[in-house]
Amino acid sequence: MTTRIADRRPATLQILLSGFLILWLIVAAFPFLWTLWGSFKVEGDFFSKADWMNAITGPLTQAQTGSSMTGDGYYGAWVQEEFWRAALNSLIVVVAVVCISLTFGTLGGYALSRSPYRYAFWLLLVALVFRAMPPITLVSGYLLPFFEWNLWGHLPTAIIVLVAINQPFTLWMLTSFFRNIPKELDESAMVDGCSRFQAFRHVIIPVMWPGVITTGLFSFLLAYNDFAVTAMLLSKENQTMIPKIASFLGTTQTAGNVMFAVSSVVSVTAPLFVLVMFFQRQIVSGLTAGAVKG
C-alpha cells in the first residue's frame, strides 16, 4: 500500500488548501471568463451603463440580434476587418522568431556552456544588460535606418528585431540548461565516435528537449504578445494581431469596433491555452530540470 503524503494531511488543512486553490483559480480565471462571455454580446450590453448585469443576461443583444448570444463581434473582426490576415502575419512572425532564436540559442548556448574561456561569462553578462533594456529603446534606434533603407513595414524586419531582442534571454536560459548537462555526456559521445556537432545533435539535444521546448515557449510568448516593436515597425497592411487589436480600440467613434477588439482578444488567448496544455509535461520538466540530477 502506498499512501501519498497529501492523504496524510489533517482534513481541516485539506479543506483550507482546496478552498484557497479554488478561490485563487476563480480570481485568476475571472477576467478571461468575463471577456469570453462578453465577446458574444453587443457593445451596449458588455459596456452597459445602466446595469452591469446586462453583460451577463444581454437584453440589448436579444433586442438587436434576436438571440442572447451573437457571433457578430467575431464575424466583424475576422471577416469584415480581416483579422485573419493579422493572424496569418502573427503566425509567420512567431514561427520565424521561435525557429531563428532557438537555432542560434541552442548552438550559442551550447558553445558558451562548454567554453573554458572567461569571455563566455562576459558575453552572457552583456546579453543580460541588453535583455534588461526596454525593447522600445532599441526600436527608436532602428527606426531611422530602417526608413532610410526602405526596410520599414516588412515582416522580416520585425522578425529580425524581435529575434535581436529575444536572443539574450534565449541564450541565457539555454546556457543554463546546457550547464546542467554533465560534460561527460559530450565527452563519452566524442570518444564513442561523434564529432562535436554529432555529439550535440545525437546526445545533447535529446536530453535538452524539455529545455528547448520551455525556452521556445518563452520566445513564442514574447513574439506573440509583442506590441512595441510590431506596432512601430509594421505598416497597416502587414499588422500582426496585437497592434490590430489596439487599432480596434483606438477608434471608439465607430460603434461595434470595441466588440471586435474583445472578440479578437479571446481569439488571441485561446491558442495559448491549447499550447500550454499540449506542452505542459515538457514545460514542467524543463522548469525543474536544474532541481533534480539526471
Partner: protein, 359 residues
C-alpha cells in the same frame, strides 16, 4: 591493439602544473594502472590520451602514430568514465549500440555485437531499461559493455569501480580482469585504490602531485618502493617510516637500535619496514610501551612509538596486551629499506643481508 608511448607529456593550466613531464611506454596488450592520491593528475593524464584535454607539451603515440592533433573519435579508443556518462534518453540496448551506429558499422552486425557485449557483463535482462532505472553497479556494466562493443585499440577506465559497494567492487574487478584476459586490449586504468591496482595491473604507475614516483610491477612496487612516498602509500598498513641515524653500521632512533647496516655510510636516514615483515619477540631491535592495539581479524596490529613516529607491528590474532605494556619487536636489517631523509629517494644497499628482500 597497440602500444602507447608518452614522451615528455605534461599539462599546465596557467602557472598550475597538473602533470610534470611524463615518459611512459605501454606495451601492446598490457594492463597499466595509474595509482595515486586524489588530485595527483591521473584523470588529466588519461584525458590527454583520450584527446579530451590538450597536452601542454610532449607527444602521445598510439600504435606508431602521433595522435596529439587527432580528435577523440579518430584515436580509436574506448573510455569508461568515473561517472559513467550513459545517455539518459536511450535504452541500455541503444546505449551499447551507439558507438556502432555513429561509426557506421554495417547495421546487420549491430544486434549480434550488442548482445555479445551485454552477455559479457551479464546485462541481458536490462536491455530495454533506461539508465535511470538501473543501480550503480548495473550502470557501471553498461558503460563497460559500451566500451567493449567495438574492438578499440585502447581501453581507458577512470575509477570505474569507485561508486560500487565493497562486494560488487570485488566481483566487477574480477570481471574486468577476465575481460582483459579475453580481449587482450591495451588498457589504462585509473584508481586511487591500491588493492585494485595490485590485483589488476601488469604494471603500476604511482603518481603524486603531478609527478611519476615509480613505475613497476605490483611486486616491485611493494617490495622495492622507490621513495618514501611510494613506501608510505602502498601496503595496508603502509610501510613504517622511522627517521634516525646510522653510525658504524647501526641504525639508531628513540626506542630503536638495528645493527647490520655495514657498508652504509654514516649519517641521517629514514628507515622503513613493513608491519607484516616484523614480529614480536621477547627482546628485539625495537622496544617500547604499547601505544594501541587493533584486532584486524586474521591478526592484530600493535602500535608503538619509535623514532618520533607511530610504528605498527603485526602480532598473532590472539596476542593481547594492555596500553602501556612494554613489548619488543624483532626487526632485522634484512627487512629494512633505507631512504634519503631529504630527497626521500631509496638508498640501495649493495650488500643485502639474507632476508625477505631477496625472496
Amino acid at each position: 591493439m597497440a602500444r602507447i608511448q608518452l614522451r615528455n607529456l605534461s599539462k599546465r593550466w596557467g602557472s598550475f602544473v597538473g602533470l610534470k613531464p611524463m615518459n611512459l611506454d605501454i606495451n601492446d596488450g598490457e594492463f597499466l594502472v595509474l595509482l595515486g592520491p586524489s588530485g595527483c593528475g591521473k584523470t588529466t593524464t588519461m584525458r590527454m590520451i583520450a584527446g579530451l584535454e590538450d597536452a601542454s607539451e610532449g607527444d602521445i603515440m598510439i600504435g606508431e602514430r602521433r595522435v596529439n592533433d587527432l580528435e577523440p573519435k579518430d584515436r580509436d579508443i574506448a573510455m569508461v568514465f568515473q561517472s559513467y556518462g550513459l545517455y539518459p534518453t536511450m535504452t541500455v540496448y541503444e546505449n551499447i549500440r551507439f558507438p556502432l551506429k555513429v561509426r557506421g558499422i554495417p547495421q546487420a552486425e549491430h544486434h549480434d555485437r550488442v548482445m555479445r557485449a551485454a552477455a559479457a557483463v551479464e546485462l541481458n535482462e536490462f536491455l530495454e531499461r533506461k539508465p535511470a532505472a538501473l543501480s550503480g553497479g548495473q550502470r557501471q556494466r553498461v558503460a563497460l559493455a559500451r566500451a567493449i562493443v567495438r574492438k578499440p585499440k585502447v581501453f581507458l577506465m577512470d575509477e570505474p569501480l569507485s561508486n560500487l559497494d565493497a562486494k560488487l567492487r570485488v566481483s566487477t574487478r574480477a570481471q574486468i580482469k577476465n575481460l582483459h584476459h579475453e580481449l587482450q586490449t591495451t588498457t589504462i586504468y585509473v584508481t586511487h585504490d591500491q588493492i585494485e591496482a595490485m590485483t589488476l595491473a601488469d604494471r603500476v604507475v604511482v603518481m603524486s602531485r603531478g609527478e611519476v614516483q615509480q613505475i613497476g610491477t605490483p611486486l616491485q612496487i611493494y617490495d622495492r618502493p622507490a621513495n618514501t612516498f611510494v613506501a608510505g602509500f602502498i601496503g595496508s598498513p603502509a610501510m613504517n617510516l622511522i627517521a634516525g641515524e646510522i653510525r658504524g653500521g647501526v641504525f639508531e632512533a628513540a626506542n630503536v637500535r638495528i645493527p647490520g647496516f655495514a657498508g652504509v655510510s654514516d649519517g641521517k636516514v629514514t628507515l622503513g619496514f613493513r608491519a607484516e615483515d616484523a614480529g614480536l619477540a621477547p627482546a628485539g631491535e625495537i622496544a617500547a610501551p604499547v601505544y594501541s592495539m587493533e584486532l584486524l581479524g586474521d591478526s592484530s596490529m600493535a602500535t608503538v612509538q619509535a623514532g618520533g613516529a607511530l610504528v605498527a607491528i603485526r602480532a598473532a590474532k590472539n596476542f593481547s596486551a594492555q596500553i602501556g605494556d612494554p613489548i619488543a619487536a624483532h626487526v632485522p636489517a634484512g627487512i629494512c629499506h633505507l631512504f634519503d631523509p631529504t630527497t626521500g629517494q631509496r638508498i640501495d644497499r649493495r650488500t643485502v643481508p639474507a632476508g625477505k628482500e631477496t625472496a
